[in-house]
Each structure stands twice: as C-alpha cells, then as structure tokens.
Symmetry: C2
Subunit: 121 residues, 2 copies
Amino acid sequence: MMNEKQALDAFAALSQETRLRIVRLLVTAGPAGLPAGAIGEAMDGASSSRMSFHLSHLEHAGLVESRREGRSIVYTAAYPALSGVIEFLMRDCCQGHPDVCSPAVAALSSCCEPEKGVAHA
Amino acid sequence: MMNEKQALDAFAALSQETRLRIVRLLVTAGPAGLPAGAIGEAMDGASSSRMSFHLSHLEHAGLVESRREGRSIVYTAAYPALSGVIEFLMRDCCQGHPDVCSPAVAALSSCCEPEKGVAHA
DNA sequence: CCTTCATCTCAATTACTCTTGAGATATTGA
DNA sequence: TCAATATCTCAAGAGTAATTGAGATGAAGG
C-alpha cells in the first residue's frame, strides 16, 4: 500500500512531459518492455544521457523497472506501482466523497472490459 | 475529458507535500470548503504568502476553486478535476492492461460503498 | 584483444520552484 | 473615515530539476 512519500515521488515523476510519455509508451508495450534506445527514438530522438536521466528518475519513483538484455537495458512499466497511484488517489481523495471516484470508475468500463466482477458496471 | 497538459499540471500540483495535504484537507472538508487562513493553520501555521502561493498553484491546476466570503477567501476541492486525474491515469495506463486498473478499482470498494450506480453520482 | 554498440555517469549550465519578508488590496465594523 | 482582519502580490534568495556534451562502463563479435 502506497504511502504519502511514494505518492509524492510518483506525482513528481509523472509531472514531466517526457516521463509521462515514457510511462504511456511502456504500458502499451506490455511486459516485454522496450530497450532504452527504442524509447529514446520514440521521444523525438532524445539524447542518451537525457533518456538515462528520465528513466532512472522513473525507476527511482518505482514506476518502471529495468533488466539488462544483451547490450540493451530493457525497461518495463511497473503495473502494481501504477495501480498504486490510482489507488492512492481514490483512497485519499474519496474519503466519504464518491463524487470523486464514481465518475472515474465509470470511465474504467470503457477502457478495460468489466470482466472481473469488481463492481459489475 | 482531461488532456495531457492538464494532467501534467495536476501531477505537478500534487507532487508537493503541502499542496497534497491541502487537497486532502479540502476533500474531507466537503463543498463548504475552508478559508485560506484555516488551511494555513492546518499546514503547521504556514505563512500567508506561502499559502497563497500553493493555493493559487492548485487553483491554476484546476484542482481547487475559490470564492470570496466576507473577508475570507474560501477554497473548495474541485471534485470533477480530481476524478479527472484518476480517469486520466486509468484511460492512459489501462489500455489493454486491466492489471493496472482492476486492483485500483478493487480498492475503491473499500473506500466508497460499492454501489453499482456508477453513472454520475 | 580490439572495436562497435548501447547505455550510464559526471560536470556545467540554464531554468524552474519554493520560501521569506515587506507591502498592497479588499472587506468589515466602530 | 479609520483601524483591524484576511489575503494577495512582489522581489530576492536558496534550493532543486532538466538539458547538454564529453567520457566511462559493459556486452558481443571478429
């Protein structure tokens, strides 16, 4: 369960355009992930040191993970941490205020199919 | 529907300890809101200029709203914007990956009552 | 080994954010 | 109108974040 410090780090990591785009890219890339170089090319050909800076920032915040694979270093989205951020916002902001969470959950039905009987939309 | 720019502003606003605490306080305060002075006292007696800085930052990001009430300026949480942030994360991060959203939604049931009346509470 | 490729690390620079303190503005009541 | 209250605005300074370019590190292949 994510605490305040972790949430602050996550928000800081997500508040930078390049990093937010990296996270989105890695989420769509799935568990296979992408090597740093490929991510850099997707970011308008950002320099390697710039990519390294942002990727380690994201990794430090726990939002992505890395593994070496041959010469490349492959990054993947840290799904539990991402859902942890959503969960933090809900837990924190929702206290007695379904006005905040309910519309968000309504949006969920259109993005994930409501297969799991979570709240059966 | 929240766009990337708005999301970046929201994350930046939430990535600062004092501001995150302000948001939490205002959410629990409900639609009645709280005057700037009361919020400042709750923030370890922060100075008025410091409060003004953070409150206008939050207002600029759309996460809180203000209205004058006598001598005071009363701040309230902007619930639609807050749910918009959650929705953005879900929409953005969930694409084909219920692994991200589902655990978050499961957490929801313990915070808001799991009414199935999801549509606009 | 030596070279190439992929990425990281470091130092310098620029840019932004936060805090502080002094002062301005708006509202109320005497 | 004057004083008190509540908050905002502004400028300065300290601190933090992002970009750049040069060089170091680590892996693979000849």
